[in-house]
Amino acid sequence: MIPGDGEQTGEVTAEGGHGAVPTTGVPTGQGVRRRDWPLYEVFVRGKRGLNHVHVGSVHAADAEMALHNARDVYTRRNEGVSIWVVKAEDVTASSPTEKDPFFAPAGDKVYRHPTFYVIPEEVPHL
């Protein structure tokens, strides 16, 4: 018998994507960080001329291994020509919960958009 056998798992719904898995009696973890490899955020440039775009994250012992892992996980089908990896703890982000005040300065400056200006239709190339 394996550990966990015979546990009452209660209702089983079709969550899990690849097939139904139990939804009750399943722990969700303590969220305590183990001393495992650090987390790196991965950014991929899809092709020349495009920005690097965030695609996900990998764990790795160091940055070089993170690059290799990112290549294996995120570019198995030529999805990229360049990869950046950044330690997740080094990313500084605005908080979505501060969204309104943080981005408010741009809110009342409609004159920064070309559509703000009314030009007669017959004027060409504008």
Partner: protein, 318 residues
């Protein structure tokens, strides 16, 4: 949340639901109800575990593939499953869980994985049938998840669904080749379909009446269709595909219902489903033992790489 943010808990909850109702995505650092977070951790982690354990049934056939072409295809497919697991663990981690802890919950059997992977792959026809039916059923489940309310999960599913399409098509092509082969090969395909059909239908979970959590998941925009809707869609898709292969789906009650514009079909054996998902399936013990062994055997590699990285970091700073 910061000290300058004085909104009430009720305001956060209203904002959260309004975001979902507007078909916008919830992102990692947004406020979210604890139950939503836990539901997602359960779902994404166990989805990831399913992909990782899902490498095993077919993986055993890599060394015995019938040709170099099939071997290269199967290797790529199994590697994809590992990749899918990684996309999903990365998504789960945005909810504040630790990947190493999720692995521990899997190998100690406290978190589960899809029941389908507890059935053994007994012949090379199974590689084809797993691609066609098992991945086909997974696609039915996963396509709506591309619009799941939780951004990182939805984005992972977009990547996965693109790759699943290759999985399903290579499986069907393999079966097509076998069905155009000898009588013995056709018999192998039929025997394999007979074993995988019902477990594939079970992948959608119990009937809607026995799935009390569905409603909440739908209100949260995690789930878009009920178990029975997805199962029906899968059956209707599979019937013409089975005809193209010239094989019979093992259900005497399966027939077209013109009135409903859909196929009627029989009831899966739900007692088998409950048994398999809670640990008593044909291969549960083997699957977990294999995963545990791989994890333990890799411990020294993880430690050595960490020690090497620490040493190099010290050398640089010295």
């Amino acid at each position: 949340m910061t000290a300058t943010d004085a909104r009430s808990p009720e305001a956060y909850a209203r904002e959260f639901q309004a975001t979902i109702d507007a078909d916008q995505r919830i992102e990692p650092r947004d406020w979210m109800p604890e139950a939503y977070r836990k539901t997602l951790i359960r779902q994404i982690a166990q989805h990831a575990h399913s992909e990782i354990i899902g490498m095993q049934p077919e993986g055993t056939w890599i060394t015995r593939a019938p040709s170099l072409r099939r071997k290269a295809i199967l290797l790529a497919k199994v590697q994809d499953e590992a990749g899918h697991g990684m996309y999903l663990y990365a998504a789960a981690e945005t909810l504040g869980v630790d990947r190493e802890e999720l692995t521990e919950l899997l190998v100690s059997a406290r978190q589960k994985y899809s029941s389908i992977f507890n059935y053994p792959a007994l012949s090379y026809a199974d590689v084809g049938v797993i691609g066609w039916l098992v991945d086909g059923a997974a696609i039915c489940n996963q396509v709506p998840l591309c619009r799941c309310s939780y951004g990182p999960y939805a984005r992972a599913m977009v990547r996965i669904c693109k790759e699943e399409s290759f999985h399903q098509r290579q499986g069907f092509e393999l079966l097509l080749a076998m069905c155009h082969g000898t009588a013995a090969q056709r018999e192998m395909v039929q025997e394999s379909v007979n074993r995988w059909w019902w477990p594939s239908l079970m992948m959608f979970g119990p009937a809607d009446g026995d799935s009390p959590n569905t409603q909440q998941s739908m209100e949260w925009g995690i789930k878009r269709h009920t178990n029975d809707e997805l199962r029906q869609r899968f059956v209707d898709m599979s019937v013409p595909q089975a005809e193209a292969l010239g094989i019979t789906l093992p259900d005497p009650d399966l027939r077209w219902n013109a009135e409903r514009g859909a196929h009627d079909f029989g009831e899966p054996d739900w007692s088998e489903f409950q048994a398999v998902i809670t640990g008593a399936g044909p291969a549960n013990a083997q699957r977990l033992a294999h995963r545990r062994r791989a994890h333990e055997n890799g411990a020294w590699v993880r430690e050595a790489a960490r020690a090497y990285a620490d040493k190099r970091a010290k050398a640089v700073s010295a």
